[in-house]
């Protein structure tokens, strides 16, 4: 038994209690108009939701994936920085130079650009 485990069980329970309170106390009488999607007073047109979206959002997600991995490769370095010698430090610098070259290549290819007019 440790505190974190109890806390991890307790928080979802608290949220479920809140949801149950709403279920018990609130009225529920939906009708066709009430449960229709919100769309400026008209009925939503079928097939317009979940539309194809700008590919830039996808590109940013891919860039994030690579960069987050690279930053978390630095995490072991940061905690062991006082026990590795200057050899470990020079390896870190080489790793970081490669990372920077990749980043400059990405910026040079203009991947962050959202608008196509520029």
């Amino acid at each position: 038994m440790n505190t974190l485990l109890i806390y991890f069980l307790f928080i979802p329970l608290l949220v479920l209690i809140l949801l149950a309170l709403n279920l018990l106390l609130a009225t529920h009488n939906p009708d066709a108009e009430k449960v229709s999607g919100y769309e400026s007073g008209f009925s939503p047109i079928f097939g317009q939701t979940r539309i194809p979206f700008n590919v830039q959002f996808y590109v940013i997600a891919i860039l994030f994936l690579i960069f987050d991995l690279e930053i978390f490769y630095l995490v072991p370095f940061t905690v062991s920085i006082y026990s590795i010698s200057s050899y470990g430090f020079s390896i870190f610098v080489i790793f970081f130079v490669i990372l920077t070259i990749g980043f400059i290549y990405e910026l040079g290819n203009n991947v962050i650009n959202f608008s196509t007019r520029e």
Partner: protein
């Protein structure tokens, strides 16, 4: 069994003040916004309106939950539940005083970063499951901004870890006894604060809630209690990130020796609370001061301006340590 009850009591003693702090954060926001705009703000319920958030919460609990017919029901409920659980779980590793943490976890910083990454799923699920144009666009924009600023946040934290050499929050606070990290790392503090403004999606980065374009962003279709859960999650993460900023940069519960005692009146926690209040106020202050910027500007600002800067600091700080012979 008795031990489990005791541990549960420990959890309750953390979560009840946290929920109260979140409630008072909402009333602080409304009062400060009113003051900056020369209005009175809420002043009817309780003295000076301090009971307003409780009456709002009770009202929203007894409202009808309307679930759109086209929505994906399971994800629609799961999204706000996930958001609130993740933002409340972050309080498990926060030290409120010397040895006053639910869990003095040795990987506290990693734990916090992981939970803040998980918060993105709530936004993503909400926008996808509601099956509405506004919610979908709102969640796309929010996800892009959140994951971009996640990088700035974790990089800024990594620079602090370089100085402390530990992921443990208590050890980070102990190493700030000679000097608070805001003094040597002032530029990092600015980058970190910009990142947490974006992570909690506050003005000027609140593009997913751009009312004039997207109604209410990813929770357009959420009503009553599931809206309350999103609202609680947002304000809980504001208070949590304010606390973390004061722990990482303002020395947490560090205070002059005369204030430290073993009685029930623990002044260390009060000092941590006061430091947190400064940042909570700054969140509201920024909201009343800055205009909102466009979604592509936010992404571009992150990747073209902030990320090269934070990468430069990641290489600069260890190089300084090496050149002054702190790392042999």
């Amino acid at each position: 069994m008795l031990q489990a009850l005791y541990l549960l009591l420990e959890g309750v003693t953390v979560i009840v003040p946290v929920l109260l702090a979140v409630a008072f954060m909402t009333i602080i926001e409304r009062k400060v916004l009113a003051a900056t705009q020369r209005r009175v703000g809420p002043n009817t319920v309780g003295y000076y309106g301090i009971l307003q958030p409780f009456s709002d919460a009770l009202k929203l609990i007894i409202k009808e939950t309307v679930i759109p017919a086209q929505a994906n029901k399971v994800l629609f409920y799961l999204a706000p539940v996930l958001a609130i659980i993740v933002s409340l779980l972050g309080w498990a590793v926060v030290p409120f005083g010397t040895g006053l943490a639910l869990s003095d976890f040795s990987l506290g910083v990693i734990y916090t970063l992981t939970l803040s990454s998980f918060g993105i799923y709530g936004v993503l699920f909400a926008g996808w499951s509601a099956n509405s144009k506004y919610a979908f666009l709102g969640s796309l924009r929010a996800t892009a901004a959140l994951i971009s600023y996640e990088l700035i946040l974790s990089s800024a934290v990594i620079i602090i870890i370089v100085l402390t050499g530990s992921f443990n929050y208590t050890q980070i606070i102990e190493s700030q006894i000679p000097v608070w990290f805001i003094v040597p790392l002032a530029p990092i503090f600015i980058l970190f604060f910009i990142a947490i403004l974006a992570e909690t999606s506050r003005v000027p980065f609140d593009l997913q809630e751009a009312e004039s374009e997207l109604v209410a962003g990813f929770f357009t279709e959420h009503s009553s209690i599931i809206f309350v859960l999103f609202f609680l999650a947002e304000y809980s993460s504001i208070v949590l990130f304010s606390t973390l900023t004061s722990i990482l940069f303002l020395g947490g519960y560090n205070c002059p020796m005369i204030f430290i005692n073993d009685t029930y009146l623990n002044l260390e926690s009060v000092i941590l609370g006061l430091k947190t209040c400064i940042f909570c106020f700054m969140f509201v202050w920024f909201r009343s001061t800055f205009p909102r910027i466009r979604t592509d500007q936010i992404i571009k600002f992150c990747w073209v301006s902030l990320l090269p800067m934070v990468m430069a600091f990641i290489i600069l700080v260890p190089c300084l340590l090496v050149s002054f012979d702190w790392i042999v």
